[in-house]
């Protein structure tokens, strides 16, 4: 499990979250729509540079990339063998197509570039800054509030799941293909649902107790600075380069 917010004091950390949110969205769309290797590699290079400027530790970056690449690995096991095209290698009577390899390579680079931009830009703002940024960008409050709670509590629920799993394992539970296993898993899932409902209920009460009325307020407010202007110019130039290439 990794921490959602990466602390630091780099120029990237100081960019207005609104600029970061918009750029991340535009960059992701631009990269996702590319079908050529050069622009996608350029996008990857831009995202690597941003992560480097943000001064994020390699270990942290690898942990985040692993989440995407574990899924991408599955694509490598399927796509090259199933995508129609000119066969280049044969593995156990299955032919690997050139187009399949090209497509999977593109998808791998795209996914990593987008994950890196998320790490470099969004993970360098705290959740409250992002929430506040989204509200400033006129995203509906209910939607933002839901996003905030999911983001904050998904890890808490994961911890709860791990605790329950440790508790059942301590009492000799092992995963087998038996009715007992399925029943136990159902109990665990049911327990987690009840716990998450109770926790959500209690959290709402706790917020209401402290005067929460659906609006999030920040202690430190955004000020559009020269850094933001420079960031907009450089990031937009980056996007234009990707599109032109």
């Amino acid at each position: 499990m990794f921490n959602e917010y990466i602390k630091g004091d780099s120029i990237i950390h100081r960019i207005d979250p609104r600029v970061k949110i918009i750029y991340t969205l535009v960059f992701s769309i631009v990269i996702a729509l590319q079908n050529e290797l050069i622009p996608v590699l350029t996008g990857l290079a831009i995202s690597i540079i941003l992560v480097a400027i943000a001064g994020i530790e390699i270990k942290e970056v690898i942990q985040r990339l692993r989440v995407v690449d574990e899924f991408i690995l599955l694509l490598w096991l399927i796509l090259p063998f199933t995508y129609p095209g000119e066969p280049i290698i044969e593995v156990w009577n299955f032919s690997v197509s050139k187009e399949g390899i090209m497509l999977t390579t593109l998808m791998t680079i795209k996914a990593n570039a987008i994950m890196l931009i998320l790490t470099g830009l969004l993970a360098t703002s705290s959740i409250f800054e992002l929430v506040h940024g989204l509200l400033h960008l006129k995203i509906p409050e209910k939607l933002v509030f839901m996003f905030f709670l999911i983001y904050r509590y998904i890890w808490v629920l994961y911890d709860e799941y791990e605790k329950i799993m440790r508790a059942v394992k301590a009492r000799g539970f092992r995963l087998h293909n038996t009715l007992h296993t399925y029943r136990t898993i159902a109990y665990i899932v049911g327990g987690l649902l009840v716990k998450s409902y109770n926790r959500a209920d209690n959290l709402y009460r706790a917020m209401v107790c402290r005067g929460f009325n659906g609006k999030f307020w920040l202690l430190e407010h955004f000020k559009f600075s020269t850094i933001d202007l420079m960031a907009i110019i450089m990031l937009t130039t980056g996007n234009i380069v990707i599109i032109i290439l």
């Binding site: 917010y5 959740i127 209690n202 706790a206 917020m207 107790c209 005067g211 929460f212 307020w217």
Partner: protein, 222 residues
Amino acid sequence: MTGNYLIKLEEITFGYNGKPLLFDSLNFFLSENARVGIIGPNGSGKTTLFNIIMGFVRPVKGTIEIAGELMKNEKDFQKARHLIGYLFQNSDDQLFCPSVKEEIAFGPLNYRLPKEEIEKRVKEVLELTGLKGFEDRAPYELSEGEKKRVAFAAILAMKPKILLLDEPTNGIDSEGVMSIEKILRTGGYTYVIISQDTEFLKKTTNKIYTIEKGRLKEFNFH
């Protein structure tokens, strides 16, 4: 009973769906500067009593008055909650901000206080609760005792008139307990504490109740 009470519960009757009544014509009167403790077995309704005061659950029968105002609807409770600081039994349910500073500032920010005032309050309560230096720490990474102190600091920053403390010493070491005792003794608060820690209650309260047969009864240690 007559007099001016900060909290006045009269003839409260309440039971959860399909279960026996928890409260049966329960009365509770809390006057200004009162220091009250509530003890009792699990499931006797101690936390539910706090939830009724806060308006989170509504009684079947009975009236609730807070600071002289009769609570009739959610709007009345919303106003009354400004006067009350409620410390939850489980701090994990109460803390959600990315830093201790933001956690403490959350309540005052919701009340739209000026930034300088919020900064002042944050500084004050951090010192009071012994959390100076914890400003930028993530609340969910702290120990149980530290979390409890952050939750306590967060409600103190709202400068409430009444404190409702549900098991405030749970998970706290003796130093933390002493710090809470000191705040309660010197802060001039009106408060109600739910606790199983009888030593703590003896030191911090002047009246202790227990819930028996759906009603509050004065409890005597001897």
